[in-house]
């Protein structure tokens, strides 16, 4: 009994027969994902690869509780995402998920520290807690010297490291990275990748979307999407 509960909890992502369609003006409906089954265990580092337009980002948005599937069941840490309301979804994204985007998506006009503090601000942490944790995270990604710099004063690699620090702010269960090295040169890309490996060794589950065969090969498991299906 206890054992069963434990196995249950170990599946951090459980997807069965996920379909996703977009309405592109009635009555047409465009189905992008055609029945995805995916299970990810706690502490795994998986990569999703596939051609452009195969539905990788679409799948990632569903995993990240930014979007809802049209059909099928998705449990994030045992919680049915589809039945959650807007604010509950926001809370799940805030506590359970850390996003890393291809184009960094730091908030302009506020410095690196404030950017890292933001998820904690929305979680309701005190100023002192936020500052302390944000500083520690920036140190971890080796950005201590750029704490007061604004995004437009940072290089791409530096921005991505700040973004990773921000993704880790609320100590989420999963890091979702959609082509995090896509806008970086290969050397910087490898540095970012090393960072992911370190984070993974610290116990975080990571889902990485990438076009690089080389980077995908470094992960525990590769999932290939083709025309909205896992193959």
């Amino acid at each position: 009994m206890e054992n069963a509960a434990k196995t249950q909890a170990a599946h951090i992502i459980e997807m069965s027969n996920i379909h996703k369609s977009f309405y592109i003006g009635t009555p047409q409906e465009l189905e992008i994902l055609h029945g995805i089954d995916l299970t990810v265990d706690e502490g795994e580092f998986i990569s999703i690869v596939g051609a452009s337009g195969s539905g990788k980002s679409t799948l990632m948005n569903i995993i990240g509780a930014l979007d809802k599937q049209t059909e099928g069941e998705y449990l994030l840490r045992g919680i049915d995402v589809k039945s959650a309301d807007d604010d509950h979804l926001a809370e799940m994204r805030n506590k359970e998920i850390g996003f890393v985007f291809q184009n960094f998506n730091l908030i302009p006009r506020i410095n690196a520290l404030k950017n890292v503090e933001l998820p904690m601000l929305y979680a309701g942490d005190s100023t002192a807690e936020r500052t302390e944790k944000a500083r520690a995270l920036l140190e971890m990604v080796e950005m201590s010297d750029w704490v007061t710099h604004q995004p437009n004063e940072l290089s791409g690699g530096q921005k991505q490291r700040v973004a990773i620090a921000r993704a880790l702010a609320n100590d989420p269960a999963i890091i979702l990275a959609d082509e995090p090295t896509g806008a970086l040169d290969s050397r910087t890309g490898h540095l970012v990748m090393d960072l992911f490996h370190r984070i993974n060794r610290d116990g975080k589950t990571i889902v990485l979307i990438t076009h690089s065969e080389e980077l995908a090969a470094e992960t525990d498991r590769q999932i290939t999407l083709k025309d909205g299906k896992i193959c």
Partner: protein
């Protein structure tokens, strides 16, 4: 906590677009400053009128005996009021006792005219004086400032005593020193009679009080009891007296009470009735016209404020569109609708709040300059300032609400994909 963060964030985002923020604020500044200017100047004018009323005793109620209108009988020969028709010191006394709590003073006069005043014990000169019979209340009502002795009291009035309160200018002219004047006799020579009075008091006439009559030179006035003056004139009664209410607020109430009191008393009198007049009524009319003008201009200023508010809404919508992507990111990292909404409403409130404060400073400055130039009293109304600040904040909330709500409802994915 979020409020502080949002406040700082809003300031940074306004700073990064200074010109736009300033132009947006301009509408609020113009609206608020015109409201403040108009209300302040209006208050200055009202206050000025109030001051003038206080000074000129416009609160006072005039009571006079007048002939009844007998429209049907034009040919009837007019006869003046007889003793029965007129007031006497005792009938006025009755009235005063009836409303004693509302009355501060009652004053009536009987003027004898001009004569030459002399003193046996004084210098060998004479001085032209106006002899005016007054009652005790006259001194209160006209703020007569006694230098020595006493005023005409009730006892003098009742007994028609031959006593006088003389002006300091006459005392100076007729005696070398006014130390021993009290108790001395003063004689006034008229064309047809000579009257002698005992001096009981000296009052200060060096500064002519009563700006209403300011300007023309008149003879110094010597006061004797009104009844003594009536005897001297062989007049039969008092046709007119004025009443000073105990407070400005009770004036109109006392006025209507007085009117009904005397109307009842004169009901059976076929020829005469009593007319009660209180300038306060006229003043109230003037005040209400001023208030109407004030309200009309305030409405126009309010429209300016409304236009300013729409400007704020417009710029907030632009701001939301510009920051769609940022909103998407914020949502992705866990911002709830309420977080986003607060952020934009606070931004709108700050625009309006800063605009409001600048507007208040500007409005008060203009109002003060205008008041000083027109030599009106400066009337800065704290409630108006507080209401203005709250009102402009309210505009921020009201006109910021729609854009903020729009931002809060954005779909995170669409917002993130926004180019």
């Amino acid at each position: 906590m979020l409020i502080v963060e949002n406040f700082l964030l809003a300031l940074t985002s306004l700073k990064s677009n200074k010109m736009r923020a300033l132009l947006t604020m301009l509408g609020i500044i113009i609206g608020i400053s015109s409201v403040i200017t108009i209300v302040s100047i209006g208050n200055s004018v009202s206050k000025n009128i109030e001051n003038e009323i206080k000074q000129s005793g416009m609160n006072n109620i005039s009571v006079s005996v007048t002939a009844r209108d007998s429209g049907d009988n034009e040919s009837s020969t007019y006869e003046g009021p007889t003793a029965d028709d007129m007031f006497s010191s005792s009938s006025i006394g009755d009235y005063e006792r009836e409303y004693s709590s509302d009355i501060k003073a009652i004053s009536y006069e009987e003027n004898i005219g001009d004569g030459e005043a002399r003193m046996d014990a004084g210098k060998e000169t004479q001085k032209t004086v106006t002899v005016d019979g007054v009652n005790n209340g006259y001194f209160t009502m006209n703020n007569v400032k006694l230098l020595k002795g006493r005023s005409i009291n009730k006892n003098d009035d009742e007994h028609s005593s031959d006593v006088a309160v003389i002006p300091s200018s006459v005392a100076d002219a007729l005696a070398s020193s006014n130390d021993n004047l009290i108790g001395q006799e003063i004689r006034v020579v008229f064309d047809d009679k000579i009257l002698t009075y005992t001096i009981v008091g000296i009052y200060d006439d060096s500064t002519k009080s009563g700006s209403m009559f300011g300007g023309y030179q008149s003879n110094p006035t010597m006061y004797i009891p009104a009844t003594a003056a009536m005897d001297a004139n062989s007049s039969s009664g008092i046709q007119f007296f004025s009443v000073m209410p105990s407070s400005a607020n009770s004036a109109s109430k006392l006025s209507s009470e007085t009117e009904s009191y005397f109307k009842k008393l004169y009901k059976s009198n076929k020829d005469f009735t009593v007319d009660v007049y209180n300038a306060q009524k006229d003043v109230n009319d003037v005040m209400s016209s001023i208030n109407k003008i004030k309200a009309a201009i305030a409405v126009i200023a309010g429209i300016a404020l409304l236009v300013g508010g729409i400007g704020v809404m417009n710029i907030m919508l632009v701001s939301v569109t510009e920051r769609t992507r940022e909103i998407g990111v914020r949502k992705a990292i866990g911002a709830k609708r309420s977080h986003i909404k607060t952020q934009f409403i606070i931004e709108a409130m700050i625009i309006c709040g800063i605009g409001g404060i600048i507007g208040i400073i500007l409005g008060l400055t203009v109002a003060t300059i205008v008041a000083l130039k027109m030599s009106l009293p400066v009337a800065i109304s704290i409630p108006v300032i507080i209401i203005s600040v709250m009102f402009s904040m309210g505009i921020g909330i009201f006109f910021g609400f729609y854009p903020a709500n729009k931002a809060a409802k954005l779909d995170p994915i669409e917002a993130l994909r926004y180019e």
